[in-house]
Amino acid sequence: MPELDDSERNELQNTVARLLADRSSESDVRKTMETETGFDPALWQLLAEMGIVGLLIDEQFGGYGAGAMEIERVMEEVGAALLCSPLLASAVLAASVLGASGDDDAQRRLLPDMAKGTSIATIALTGTEGSWTPEGVAVRAESNGTDWTLSGTASFVIHGQNADVVLVVANTEQGTALFQVEPSELGTAIRALPTFDHTLRLAEIEFAATKAQLIGEDGNGWPAVEQGLNLTRVALAGEQAGGARRVLDMTVEYAKNRVQFGRAIGSFQAIKHMAADLLLESESATSAARHAAMSLASTSDDAEPAISLAGFACADAFSAVTAASIQMHGGIGFTWEHPAHLYLRRARADAQLFGTPMFYRERYIQQLGG
């Protein structure tokens, strides 16, 4: 796909917004989050037909070959609508790691079905400590010269229980490498984890001399993983910025309509000042996410710190806005029926995946030379 300009990106974002307004309403989200798989296969197929699932996949494999700036905009709407789907796991993280792996055979074998949405992929890359870094890799790979086997535990595997393609990052004698295992080899070794964010699906996988296929080069797997992680972090930042904006809009709307003491509560400065501060958080998150996307797309020197900045600014903004939203709604915000807690749960999950705000702040100061 030729590079989009800003108005085409706006149009892409609006198209996704319209679809999700129609198919991922609050009641859709509540219905879907109670299902076992945690996503709506019909909506997933629609997203695939629209080209969203294949957005980041190269054109030669049936995708659209778009990049960070496009997926960031799509994810703003995903966050706003609390979409339940394996988009981040399959279409973003797995697709971009595979795309960076340099393994032509694996790409040819896996990416076309992933782009069509007929196969869902995920990556197992951290252990039970939940650190998305080389040190966090807790699976060990061994080779008898021809065949590979994996041992150890991988956790927080996003949509692992729904995956047709399970990629695994493991340590070898040479360093780090990427593998693929067949779900049929795993059986009961793959276990769904109960998640605080009910719109999210996580799994834990126990490998016990499980047969695996090497993807890319032995010992040099991490750079592709890091490349995919960075794109995923930008996408997640977009989700957080979009979620923050939607929750702020919802809260401001409530403050205009809820009357106490004979006046709309939004006329009280106690509420109005909170809303003004949250607007600063929410707009800053959008700026940070879009700046990170642009820096990554243009491969500028600034990309690494821009991603770290978005990593904590967007997570903190989404957390702050969703937390304050419950308080500003008062009693109704404390009920299960109100959507405020669904966003708070998503914000808390997003603030853990791929790195915490503290992790990103430490990385940021290092990247700036400190």
């Binding site: 006046r263 959008t286 900045l309 430490e362 400190g370």
Partner: protein, 407 residues
């Protein structure tokens, strides 16, 4: 006055504008001459040249020293001036005096003052706040009474910078005590060099004196110096205040030793300070440093995004956030600089420049969080004008001003 080619500005190509401004600068701009003072005191001769060549306010109409440029075209001119370090352009954005006169003055008044204000030939000051009217500026009690062809003014103003050297002050005064408070205010262009004007410097918490109290006793203003309609001064004031606030969001003074504004400082400076203090390995401070650097960076990104959106013709809510963001940056940076020093911050004087920086910033941060509208007023503005939240009921809104309670 204008050398712009063609009648319809939209027909002037960007390249043609760039060529014209580049060649004009090549023929006229001389940074060495500016340094040596060859362009007169404060470079006024240079500014006059820029005004006469119609580069000072290119968005303005041709008959008022402009070129009828749109924003994108004007930015080209500003970019070219900035590239060679030449001042004087972009006054249609930042010269609050000239903008106010252009918007609200009559033809004769504009002819007299617009060129002088663009060329900085006259010095100006603001006569807005009063001891009893700070955040609630519309509660002002300085009175102007008509006497023949003149107005006679009595009252007290405060927080006026440049009052001692000003030729004129932009004054708001009450001209009708029977109307509710916003409806009885008029806006004047007040001559400062007269006996009834007494200026006393105010000493700030920073031990500096940038502001004055101004006592007005039977001060006389020609009736022609009324800007905007009689009793319609509140709207004139809003326009002038908007310029002032947007200027405060774009830059503010940092630590005392720093020449640049806080928002323009390099990201590395705080890291270097921590290293110098031997504290760079402290994990808590590292988190705080990252946080403060991020506040600055995010404000710059917000401003850049707002400008881009404005250029695309969409209005942006972000502009109004800049001042609030800057206030947080300054207060948080002050805390961080203090934490990097610990007991070192007990000291002052030029022998302890790091302590001076931290302590000055701690105090001067209030300049931004109070001046030009407190953070609390700014949050009201954002809540009401950007987010559309309802206003607080105002008990004095529809009451004749004469019966409004004051402290």
């Amino acid at each position: 006055m204008s050398e712009a080619s063609g009648d319809n500005p939209a027909s002037v190509s960007n390249d043609a504008i760039r060529d014209e401004v580049q060649s004009w600068l090549a023929d006229n701009w001389d940074p060495e001459a500016m340094k040596k003072g060859a362009f007169g005191p404060l470079g006024r001769d240079w500014t006059a040249k820029v005004v006469d060549a119609a580069w000072a306010a290119t968005r303005w109409p041709k008959q008022w020293y402009g070129r009828d440029y749109n924003d994108a075209q004007a930015r080209i001119v500003e970019t070219e001036f900035a590239r060679v370090g030449a001042p004087g352009t972009g006054q249609d954005r930042i010269n609050l005096w000239a903008n106010t006169v252009l918007t609200f003055g009559n033809e004769q008044f504009k002819k007299k003052y617009v060129p002088a204000l663009l060329k900085s030939e006259i010095n100006m000051c603001l006569l807005y706040s009063e001891p009893g009217a700070g955040s609630d500026l519309a509660g002002l009690r300085t009175r102007a009474e008509r006497d023949g062809d003149e107005w006679v003014v009595n009252g007290q103003k405060v927080w006026t910078s440049g009052a001692a050297t000003a030729d004129y002050g932009m004054l708001v005064a009450r001209t009708d005590w029977e109307s509710p408070k916003h409806g009885g205010i008029s806006f004047f262009f007040c001559p400062m060099k007269q006996p009834g004007v007494e200026v006393r410097p105010l000493r700030q918490i920073t031990n500096e004196s940038h502001f004055n109290e101004v006592f007005l006793t039977d001060v006389r203003i020609p009736a022609t110096n009324l800007l905007g309609p009689l009793n319609g001064g509140w709207r004139v004031l809003q326009t002038a205040l908007a310029y002032e606030r947007s200027m405060m969001g774009e830059g503010a003074r940092g630590p005392r030793s720093g020449a640049k504004g806080a928002s323009e400082k390099g990201e590395e400076e705080l890291i270097a300070l921590a290293r110098e203090a031997g504290r760079l390995s402290d994990p808590v401070l590292r988190q705080d440093i990252a946080r403060v650097i991020a506040y600055k960076k995010l404000n710059a990104l917000n401003t850049a995004r707002a400008k881009a959106e404005l250029e695309q013709g969409t209005s942006s809510p972000i502009m109004s956030l800049g001042k609030l963001a800057m206030s947080r940056i300054l207060h948080e940076e002050a805390k961080l600089r203090t934490n990097l020093l610990d007991a070192g911050s007990l000291l002052e004087s030029s022998d302890y420049p790091r302590a001076e920086d931290a302590n000055f910033l701690t105090l001067n941060a209030y300049f931004t969080s109070i001046g030009g509208g407190t953070d609390q007023i700014q949050r009201n503005i954002i809540g009401e004008r950007v987010l559309g939240l309802p206003k607080e009921p105002e008990v004095d809104r529809d009451v004749p001003f004469r019966s409004v309670r004051s402290s």
